[in-house]
Amino acid sequence: MGLFSFLQYGFIQNAYLAGFFVAIICSVLGLFLVLRKLSLIGDGLSHVSFGAVALGLFLGFYPFYVAIPLAIIGSLFILRLTEKVKIYGDAAIGMVSALGVASGVILVSVSKGFNVDLFSYLFGNILTIGTKEIILSILLAILVFILLGIFYKDFLVVTFDKEYALASGINVKRVNIILAVLTALTVVLAIKIVGVMLVSALLILPAVTGLQNATSFRSALITSALMAILSVLGGITLAFFLDWPAGATIVVINFVLFVISFIVKKLGK
């Protein structure tokens, strides 16, 4: 067997394909989230998704069909809390996150039957990535690029200076809703690869790495995307050969890339 013979496995091909698109989406959205101090929204929404997946398994539905609408509702609810109840984003995320986990735990406790299935959602399982997830990730990537193509400048000004954006008549609410909905969809998709526990890392780490040596926002976007792709594809490959969990391997590679980037920045000064 040659070194690249593992590529013939269908599950590896599926994981690469879905992982590639999810990596790109995470890096792009993650950059906006990190710069807007909403990094932990991925964590909160993954916990909501945990509750939603548990509900889906409990009711006997395909878990994603339950997780997608509930994660979107959770995301918009976080947004609403920060705008209307006048609390900081981290507190709103914490509230919704706790509610998601609590719901999941109650459902697990009540059902006593799907703990093994739920475990694969908690830590990710690339073996479960099928055609449905690949199609969803490609469609989501297309949606992200279309919306960003149209509203890129609005995203830029709202992220850089929200007050100025408001004073320029930019529809900040629309930008927030688009970002919240896309993040919710991305988190649900990414759960299959890295799991509930680690999904926020995929949103935060490539973005933070991309920002280390950025000479412009465009360069930060490109670097973040490259780091995310490298870590996801590298993580899946390494996990296959070392028999490690893919999600955790992806996160560790992401962190190593961040450290390298940070050292490069320090040496460059």
Binding site: L35, R36, G149, I150, F151, Y152, K153, D154, L156, V157, T159, F160, D161, K162, E163, Y164, L166, A167, S168, G169, I170, L211, A214, T215, S216, F217, S219, A220
Partner: protein
């Protein structure tokens, strides 16, 4: 004379604490208003209420349209108080920041055309930023950043310029150059509302003074302020003299 800004009984409260009470005034086209008052008088709050950034009761009209219906934001150039709002970690160049001033009311996907690029170059030149136009905003000093935000405020060639303490962090030469620039823009027909602590200094440039302390204490021509007996009573003879001696 057309009215650019008008407020009637504008009242703003933070919770139950009133910050502005029954503010009524009108700014005419071509006015240069010095907006002054002691710390906590509500100057920035007033500006934010005029721009719809915070809500209050009463009426606000911009260019003869009620604030909720007002859409022509490209007519207004705004410089927020220094350090407010902008994200210092955002990797964005000086010219890109200036270009953001052209986004109001631009058609999607809001790409910059040749005309926009000319305006950006012009604004960079006016604020002497050409030599640093490719540098990241977070690499600049406070004074340089302030000049970049001023360039962003004027790049769209607005009819109304609202400046919240614009001369903070500027060194004396740049500061005087900036005030001269505002005077030049005003002479070209741009209406200016400028928040300042330095009432005596703004008297050299502004034609009117709006002095507030939660409510309007004085609004009118600078010369009237200097001869007003009520202001004499409010400030005391010595302070009024200090404020007016440069005018």
């Amino acid at each position: 004379m057309s009215i650019i800004i008008s407020t009637k009984n504008l009242t703003v409260s933070y919770g139950i604490v009133p910050v502005l009470q029954d503010i009524s005034f009108a700014v005419e086209k071509g006015d240069y208003i010095g907006l002054a008052g002691p710390n906590g008088a509500g100057k920035t709050t007033l500006i934010k209420a005029l721009l719809g950034l915070i809500s209050g009761s009463g009426e606000v009209e911009l260019f003869n349209q009620s604030l909720p219906k007002f859409k022509e934001w490209q007519k207004i150039g705004y410089l927020p108080q220094r350090g407010n709002g902008f994200n210092p970690l955002f990797p964005i160049s000086v010219s890109e920041v200036v270009a953001l001033g052209l986004l109001a009311n631009k058609k999607y996907p809001k790409r910059y055309d040749e005309e926009d690029r000319k305006k950006i170059t012009q604004a960079l030149e006016m604020l002497q930023l050409n030599n640093i136009k490719d540098r990241l905003i977070n690499e600049l000093s406070g004074g340089q950043q302030q000049r970049v935000f001023l360039a962003r405020a004027i790049v769209s060639q607005p009819e109304l310029l609202i400046l919240d303490e614009p001369s903070t962090a500027l060194d004396p030469q740049i500061r005087e150059d900036f005030f001269t620039l505002t005077k030049k823009l005003n002479a070209q027909g741009v209406t200016i509302v400028l928040i300042t602590h330095d009432v005596s200094h703004i008297g050299q440039y502004a034609n009117k003074l709006l002095y507030i302390d939660k409510k309007v204490i004085f609004y009118g021509k600078f010369s009237d302020f200097c001869h007003s007996t009520s202001m004499h009573d409010y400030f005391g003879e010595f302070s009024q003299h200090l404020i007016c001696h440069q005018h």
